[in-house]
Point group: C2
Chain length 186, copies 2
């Protein structure tokens, strides 16, 4: 958005470390949960994700095996193997990892909200609105039930962040439902 598009300028951040990687939302999910859990295996992460963030930001669990190693290569987390038994990998945040997480958390959000809803595309390209709406409403209903279920089970005890995120999810699902219901009526 900023800057003239074609200027051939080489932007190269001075990196504080030789191995600098790009941190994606997935990265921050890993960092975030490691910060909460202390030390965790990919499977621990997977379990946490599917109980929480996964409800509104889903991705395949295989990512949770690859991503921590990427972060380890960049020095944001450390690995160690279980001494006995399955010898699974245990990951922990490093100081730099904590710092990266904190920076991200408090940075103003640059990237904006984006729809990326397949149903909208179909609508755009001429799908029959009422039929589309009915199909979409079923999916929405299922997701709403899910989220409201979660919200019920942890009504009181949950920390503020997750609770607010959940509320946001429910709010948006309801808004979406409103729209598709209107389409059905027309």
């Amino acid at each position: 958005v900023f800057g003239s598009p074609n200027r051939t300028v080489r932007i190269r951040r001075l990196s504080s470390d030789a191995s600098d990687i790009r941190l994606t939302p997935t990265s921050y999910i890993v960092l975030g949960f490691l910060s909460l859990l202390g030390e965790a295996t990919p499977y621990d992460l997977k379990r946490m994700v599917s109980l929480s963030v996964g409800h509104f930001w889903s991705f395949p669990h295989s990512q949770l095996y690859a991503e921590p190693d990427r972060l380890a290569a960049a020095g944001l987390v450390t690995v160690r193997k279980e001494p006995a038994g399955r010898r699974r990998k245990l990951y922990t945040l490093t100081g730099r990892g904590e710092a990266a997480l904190a920076r991200w958390r408090s940075a103003p959000v640059l990237e904006g909200y984006e729809m990326r809803d397949p149903a909208t595309l179909k609508l755009f390209f001429g799908a029959e609105p009422a039929a589309l709406a009915r199909a979409e409403l079923e999916v929405l209903a299922a997701e709403l039930r899910e989220l409201e279920g979660v919200s019920a089970t942890e009504a009181s005890g949950a920390p503020e962040g997750p609770r607010l995120a959940l509320e946001y999810g429910v709010h948006m699902l309801r808004a979406s439902r409103e729209f598709w219901e209107r389409l059905v009526r027309e």
Copy 2:
């Protein structure tokens, strides 16, 4: 979702053609616009996208150079070169392309709505709600102005699909704004 997850079953659709590719949302955007435009260059597509779908489903223009060739390899579109001048590539839908588009358009939507909003993640992982909300509201305001601008310029003449998609976009942006405004107040 269906079937037991670990059964080693080889699902292999009988394909009506040797070269079968996976069709992504990007594919359908290309197919959709080719259907509307008849014959088009990648740049034509880019222009259409940035005026319409791009407002709620954005991606780099380089995709619009690669994707048509992928579709051509699968026999869904045909290519020809401009006979003179720039000798740009012109793409047209084939019968199979039309069919694929129609199938997609009328198929019930399987994949559901998904949030995938970076701000939600930050909220989840403990960003300071009010500050985050204020930053987010600015972005939302800008996007709303955009969409409402479009909606004003083509208020009457636009076909139903695009118009409804636009309405959906505005609806959801407003819903999002509502939520973040509440956060600021608290």
